[in-house]
Symmetry: C3
Subunit: 452 residues, 3 copies
């Protein structure tokens, strides 16, 4: 018989590898609910939990770290309250409660709670009733700042200072909040920011330049320790320009990256970050990315940003949410498609981490160490506790005119520049504001001049 | 640095109270499936399972106490049949069966079942086949009465008489059935009727008068035992009028309340209930409220009722179903929002029961005792078994003109009146119909006159 | 009191039979995921996994036997590849990958895989990286044939030959593929084809003739063993015509039935099947029916077929999918309604198998034996391995003019004819194509003539 079909040849190992279907996620790094080790660790930090423009005159139900909560703006001074969802009398949800001056009232029998969950009134109880002294509603402190509501869900006696970075209050920076949800575990969303190589592929070579063509060049990556967190440098040579792109990371999930649409065609000294970003677990398999998007003169020479797109569920750069058809997501996948399609919880045991994954491996190691340290009874370190004020950060783009040096291996040159620039940045830690900026810029120019 | 945000102060105990997220529902009172203790107890009673106007010429699939069933009207005498959903031959669902004279036939291989589940025909089997004698389909008896189908899902040998209350067949009462589903456990829906204080808050003070302004007054509540069930009196003084509102309860889930829109501005002697109500579990986390809404001359002086709204999925008073937007439910929450938002199964261990919850505590205690009594092998008591006919009930509004008594504490007066009126009602138990009504009215008038 | 309602009488056994709610499906025959006994057995066969007209230029995500996979057509020679869904680097889904020449590339970091899952490129890794030699992607061989993609998901070293039946490449047969999904376990879909009696009831007597009136007659069924599979004969007498309808079955889930709209009013010798059909598990509770529908001159004398309806999610005969309203499904249930309404997994322990279910019982027994045989370490038998080429099958309609024989019991006559025709069919096994067809037709005519 003439075979009317092609018989495939090859070393097919699908059945040999069926154990992949049995492998499970790592609970130590991915479970964030009440009482879990990672959840306890994350509860030691202030985290953004909502955009304040979503909080109107009604209670606003949210879910954070597996806890169902209600956020509201009390009517006397406009302060935000964040409490457990269910009234402690009969468990009716306070999303149906009445927001009042100084607190919230359950609509079932009228129990009223203060911002800290103290039972203020039990109007249907007899005057002599002591019930309001015997219980309280779980509540968490909230700080409202520049369009975001930050909460601290940990033990009251370890409440850290609220950390304010230098990038939160810059002159000339129009800072806009955004919040976008993803149906997957927080860790895979966070790791994306520790992975500088996906920029080359996913954002540039895979289909099209989602940001700028210059990202197609493979960067040299160096990891550095700062006083208050970690940062890494991406170095690329673009003709005579040595382009250093710096990313910040602070545990557990804060990151800052460089500009979104940089153009490495001229000198730039200590340009700053395009995004301040927190990855906040809703629960084990839902996550929100809460950001401030920064807009400064000079950050976007080609005019590719769009402030009008930044807000609840949306931002002005490609691929951050589900706002595209399945076909479009297939034809031009973005970050959202990468992290969501890793699964509800990425299974690390199935991965093959390699050279490009040093950042991912590093953050998992740091996270695991910190989780175990807390579980062993050690205090959690907070940058804001170690600092006397605003925290210096490093993220942004610096472009130095340093041509190829005849007779020297350029990779060695770029590496040397990476470490030197990191040193200059760190040397500025005790300065702040304009003085710090001038210091860094002067040092960078001096250093650049030394290569001329 | 000038802190540009407010640092919250207070005694925040959200983290201290994280154990609330671990607490679980009480299985003894909330699990109703086959073989559960509460489910067995509830299977000892006739319960309404459908509105008959929903049963057309096709099989009607329903779910009761966790059992998937099919209800149909056979075509010879129009009798209702209620059987297990799946044909016992090959398990095809009888919702796709053919309703015939005297029974239902599976469309797969034609097995036909009588109303009691007996296999009547197996047309594809050989004539000598004995299979139809070896098995049967699970079936339950059904009584059709005034627009409702009642079923008994317990053991055949303990089938109780069908209980008929005096309120089921009153002269001049236009009685309309309604059935509304709620996605939560039955107990929290039922308890709402044992809680006279939520009327003050949820229905009146919280947002607006959903019924009448007079409910804003805190009532004095007294619980009484009747011959066939429990009842309680809500007493309020409205000027010279002492307004007694009586609610009936019979285990496991039957209740009757007073008129929906009473006006306590004149005398009324033994006005009757606005609603006869059963709470029927669909399964552990779904429930239906099945009612007859009563419409009588004089019950609604302000014309606030609307017969056209009473039916499948709807009724003529506010907040009983999901027929409102989420925003409207937040702005003006009703009973449905209270019980559904307690969660799929309310977690009693999180509650703080207090003075207002005496009814809730009482019904849980009675229910638990009855469940344990049955589990211990005792027979279940049925009012209809103890009675020779129609069962007397008490629910409704009575309004007596009894002014404040100079020199006497009015609370004591109201309490005395509550008990006396309860005594008058109970004294009528051996009478029925018009004779009973005259007796009660005469006694109430005599008693009222004694205060003049 | 005059009882205003009917009190039902009968032997109601719903409560007695509450154990039916506790019975569970048979895991040995219904669980098909990786590592299960039945799943391993089914992984020893080529199965159709998609219609090729659904595979465009993008990766096509599918799920087979509980495994998430991606099917794609590489761009050099147009060959089909089938791999595990998740990239083995960081687990991004390859449904968002880039289909290229000779393979597929993950869009996250650019790892490229060949059709057999070999890692071909890791572009972000340093040149010296060995990671691509250390791992591979699970992949399965695919054969594309007449509009269907067939895959083999078992161990490479036991890959059987691709079985080609005589019905796959007939002269004058316009063969169209179809694929329809059902939300239930595969076994109940497959068993429907082993049950010749549901044709009488479901398809004919229950509501209306969904196919032809002649199916209303109860057939005589005989099971026969063929060289490569099983077949059964349905015999019915229609006047002078003895109508033999033959169905093929090959393990695990291949079947062929007779014509869909036969008219038994004249002689027909070895008419062939209307459908070649595979039941393919998506997972334990989802299944697809993949078919070739055959269209030949003479198969449809009444013109009831419609090629335009055969395709993805649809076919030209009634009741095969969810493409009808719930009311229509109730008023005129089809095969889909039968097997889906048995539940996500039919519970055999609730059934009462009887005379009509000999086929169902037989296929379960064969399946269980084969599953256990493989689990015990025995090789799986494959018809295609035992044959030197195209496999002979028997399904179709034969109509012989053999009047009732005076003095003989007609049932005995029909039974004799069934066995003789089966013998004639089997005697043709070593012939093929036109020669085989002539042989069978000549033998049938000779045999028929012997009854004149």
């Amino acid at each position: 018989m003439n075979t009317p079909f092609h018989i495939p040849e090859g070393n097919f190992r699908g059945h040999d590898r069926q154990n992949v279907w049995k492998l499970a996620p790592d609970p130590e790094l991915t479970e964030v609910g009440p009482g879990t080790a990672c959840g306890e660790y994350m509860r030691r930090f202030w985290m953004p939990v909502a955009m304040t423009d979503q909080i109107g005159d009604l209670p606003y139900r949210i879910r954070i770290l597996g806890e169902d909560l209600v956020l509201f703006r009390e009517k006397k001074e406009g302060r935000l309250g964040l409490t457990h969802l269910h009234c402690v009398h009969r468990n009716m949800s306070l999303e149906f409660g009445i927001v009042e001056e100084g607190g919230i009232r359950c609509s079932y029998h009228g129990w009223k709670y203060g911002l800290d969950g103290t039972v203020l009134e039990t109007p249907c109880e007899p005057p002599a009733s002591q019930v309001k002294k015997k219980t309280c509603l779980g509540a968490y402190p909230v700080i409202e700042y520049k369009g975001l509501a930050f909460a601290y869900l940990g033990p009251a006696d370890t409440t850290p200072p609220f950390p304010v970075m230098d990038t939160f209050d810059e002159e000339g920076d129009d800072m806009l909040p955004s919040l976008i949800k993803s149906p997957c575990n927080w860790l895979q969303v966070m790791e994306n920011a520790w992975d500088p190589f996906h920029v080359v592929y996913l954002h540039t070579l895979a289909v099209r330049s989602q940001f700028i063509d210059a990202f197609a060049e493979m960067p040299m990556i160096e990891f550095h320790e700062g006083r208050y967190g970690d940062f890494y440098t991406n170095v690329r040579r673009v003709g005579d320009i040595v382009w250093l792109r710096v990313h910040d990371h602070m545990m557990p999930s804060f990151t800052q990256n460089g500009a979104h649409f940089p153009v490495p065609d001229r000198q730039r000294y200590f340009g700053r970050c395009g995004l301040s970003r927190w990855v906040v677990p809703i629960d084990d398999t839902n996550t929100m990315v809460v950001t401030w998007r920064h807009f400064r003169d000079g950050d976007d020479p080609r005019g590719m940003t769009d402030k009008s797109k930044v807000g609840y569920g949306t931002t002005d750069f490609y691929g951050q949410g589900p706002d595209r058809s399945y076909e479009q997501r297939q034809r031009d996948p973005g970050d959202y498609d990468a992290w969501v399609s890793q699964g509800p919880k990425n299974i690390h045991a199935r991965e093959n981490l390699s050279f490009t994954d040093r950042g991912v491996a590093k953050v998992r190691r740091m996270l695991r160490n910190n989780i175990r340290s807390l579980a062993a009874g050690n205090p959690v370190e907070h940058p804001a506790a170690a600092s006397s004020g605003i925290l210096p950060t490093y993220a942004g783009d610096t472009m130095l005119r340093i041509p190829i040096q005849p007779g020297r291996d350029d990779a060695a040159v770029l590496k040397e520049i990476s470490f030197k620039v990191a040193d200059i940045f760190r040397a500025s830690d005790d300065r702040s504001g304009a003085a710090r900026k001038s210091f860094i810029q002067d040092e960078l120019k001096k250093y650049e001049a030394g290569w001329a």
